[in-house]
Symmetry: C2
Subunit: 111 residues, 2 copies
């Protein structure tokens, strides 16, 4: 199970996000993925290795080709982390709301 570090880091590069966007449309080979970019084939292979290491992409073997596919599980874990952060944030906002309501009630008493 790759770390969130690796996943976020993989997502931080625009070329890699473009590759993922392309793979969301369906499987593609390394050369197909390289075509839209003005980058060398080795550069794309390296990006794919990063994406694979992050659990975002998997490859199968088909003759000399290595078709890649998107692996949504890694995205799930990103979503979960973000959701948890928001949950804490909102819990805290609610607590603050409660606090403000209390303070307001006390002021109301005082008047």
């Amino acid at each position: 199970m790759p770390s969130l570090d690796l996943t976020f880091s993989a997502l931080s590069d625009p070329t890699r996000r473009a590759i993922l966007a392309r793979l969301a449309l369906g499987e593609a080979t390394v050369l197909e993925l390289a075509a839209p970019f003005s980058l060398s084939q080795p550069a794309i292979s390296k990006h794919l290795k990063v994406l694979e290491g992050a659990g975002l992409v998997s490859r199968r073997i088909d003759g000399t080709r290595r078709p890649c596919r998107l692996e949504p599980g890694a995205l799930d874990r990103v979503d979960q982390w973000l959701a948890e952060l928001r949950r804490v944030l909102e819990t805290n906002y609610n607590r603050l709301d409660g606090l403000l309501a209390e303070l307001y009630a006390q002021e109301g008493d005082a008047q």
Copy 2:
């Protein structure tokens, strides 16, 4: 508006994610944020600068202190990117389902 590059990159470091988790609980100063880590104050300041550059954190001035707060807007844009990727992915899955259904129907005819 900071780029997704900067935001994902900021999120790729565990120290920075821990800082965000702490800030989800409420404002904190640099020293407060530094306390749980065995890192120097300048290291934390640098992390905060990265988080600020990514739009994830903002700071206000209070005497000699710079209390930091979480800025959820940048998270929204991450969510949106992930959601769009999933949307495309699911659209494509559905299209594939449709295709398979068609193929199946034809085979059904043939038999």
